[in-house]
């Protein structure tokens, strides 16, 4: 087997509760601004939890009515993020051999609004037939296929759905497909638009959602804090253009970072309770893939959901993997600001990691005044932290169901 090829990121795009372009996202992320607020929806009266991290995104600004007839919100996010990413990459994808391009998109719920709209029509409104595009809008692969159709992708077009780690696995698998020659370029990332009545109700039932902070709803997600009460659901997308290092250099592209390592593993111990061993294994796999020692990592973007179990388990897993270095490696959970974007979480958090690499500034964990005594690492509490240099950053993503995905970026 030939040596795997190096894979780099040359474009990134984002739709998020912290803004719908890279600069807004960066500014809000490093300023500690929260995108969490009262949910703006007509079904709020029926919810126990009325906070969420919503995107200020109106599809009518970006798509024609004709296009929108086929696009669930999840595909709108994915397409607009990809438009930004492709533009930044400088590539004219329609002039590239279509068979050399792949598309790898993570999503947890796919077209949740279309699914729910269909059920509402059938079961609530008593209509006996569905809109003709329900399948095309609702299917989990809709976002990936919309991107692939628009940009002329004839290589592998693969949707990954591993709950909260979907985007990490999608990006990691995309990098491996390029590394081993299955394609030369890829659009990879994640998209999620699950703030529907039924989906929120399902999450409520699981009893993992944060209580609204009585003083300020924006501060309701409090990872690693003693008074954390759970996660806050969010929506959005981030996608990237990936290509080989050689290809990027040859065409004189600006390289944003190298995907230096990817580790995936399955935490089989329980459907929802994470284990230290399970989380540690995926970090170890990523380090081995990148051929790095643990102490070479300069920053960890934590999974950091704000649930009781995750934050303690992740802290312990980091200690297990990083040993004596754990205490000096800054770890932060940006979910404190953008919420938990589920199938898109890892993609948005990879953008946060790119921001850290490019600005030598670590995004903070907000709303962390009194840490849980069992969470005793440097969580970059409440204020972004400047560092003199940063070469490698790690982004952790774990998931209900067990699939973990850890990515390591290297500054080029």
């Amino acid at each position: 087997m030939s040596m795997p090829r190096r894979v780099v990121i040359t474009g990134a795009g984002i739709v998020s509760p912290l803004g719908n372009d890279l600069l807004s996202f960066q500014r809000n992320l490093l300023s500690g601004n929260s995108g969490i607020d009262h949910l703006n929806a007509d079904f709020c009266e029926q919810l126990e939890t009325r906070i969420a991290a919503q995107c200020q995104f109106n599809g009518e600004q970006y798509f024609t009515r004709q296009e929108l007839a086929l696009l669930d919100r999840v595909s709108q996010f994915a397409l607009y993020a990809t438009e930004q990413a492709v533009k930044q990459s400088g590539l004219d994808l329609l002039s590239v051999n279509p068979a050399s391009i792949g598309c790898f998109i993570g999503t947890g719920m796919g077209g949740a609004s279309a699914t729910e709209g269909g059920y509402t029509r059938l079961f609530k409104e008593g209509m006996n037939r569905l809109k003709p595009f329900t399948v095309l809008m609702a299917m989990n692969s809709a976002a990936a296929s919309q991107i692939a159709t628009k940009y002329g992708v004839a290589g592998p077009n693969i949707t990954i759905s591993t709950a909260c780690s979907s985007a990490a696995v999608a990006i990691g698998e995309a990098a491996k497909q390029i590394a081993f020659g299955r394609c030369e370029l890829a659009i990879a990332g994640g998209s999620e638009a699950l703030l529907t009545f039924g989906t929120i109700k399902a999450w409520e039932a699981l009893r993992t959602l944060a209580q609204e902070d009585p003083q300020d709803p924006a501060t309701s997600c409090k990872p690693f804090s003693a008074n954390r009460s759970g996660l806050v659901l969010g929506e959005g997308a981030a996608t990237f253009v990936l290509e080989t290092y050689e290809h990027a250099v040859q065409r004189g592209a600006t390289i944003l970072a190298e995907i230096a390592g990817y580790g995936s593993s399955n935490d089989f111990s329980h459907m929802t309770q994470p284990s230290v061993q399970g989380q540690a294994l995926s970090m170890q796999n990523a380090l081995r893939d990148a051929n790095l020692r643990a102490d070479q990592i300069g920053y960890i973007n934590a999974h950091g959901t704000g649930t009781q179990l995750n934050d303690i388990t992740e802290t312990r897993a980091i200690k297990q993997v990083f040993g004596s270095s754990a205490i000096r490696i800054p770890v932060s959970s940006t979910k404190s600001m953008h919420g938990h974007l589920m199938g898109a979480a890892a993609a948005v958090e990879l953008v946060a990691s790119l921001v850290a690499l490019h600005t030598n500034t670590l995004p903070p964990t907000m709303h962390l005044d009194a840490p849980d005594p069992e969470c005793d690492l440097n969580y970059v509490a409440n204020t972004a932290q400047e560092v003199t240099s940063l070469e490698y950053v790690m982004s952790n993503s774990f998931a209900f169901g067990g699939t973990s995905g850890v990515l390591i970026l290297r500054k080029i």
């Binding site: 024609t64 009515r65 004709q66 003709p132 095309l136």
Partner: protein, 81 residues
């Protein structure tokens, strides 16, 4: 003024965000900018509006008039959904 033509041309104009007056009976659906899925959607919306069911919506329709005639025949036959 044929009411069915009015309804169909309005649906098309609304989808394509174009002036309804620019649509004639002889306008070809593809040339107006509709693809096969869009045509499917137009027929679906007309079905909803009239409470009828087009038995075979994949039947070849080329012009606006083809859609209008197809709907008129069903309406005349008293077809219902």
């Amino acid at each position: 003024m044929n009411n069915t033509f009015e309804v169909v041309s309005k649906l098309i104009a609304n989808k394509l965000e174009i002036d309804q007056q620019s649509i004639t009976r002889q306008s070809k659906l593809i040339e107006l900018g509709l693809d096969s899925l869009d045509i499917f959607d137009i027929i679906f919306q007309a079905e909803d509006q009239y409470g009828i069911k087009v038995p075979n919506p994949s039947e070849e329709v080329v012009t606006v008039d083809d859609v209008v005639k197809m709907l008129d025949e069903l309406l005349a036959a008293g077809a219902s959904a």
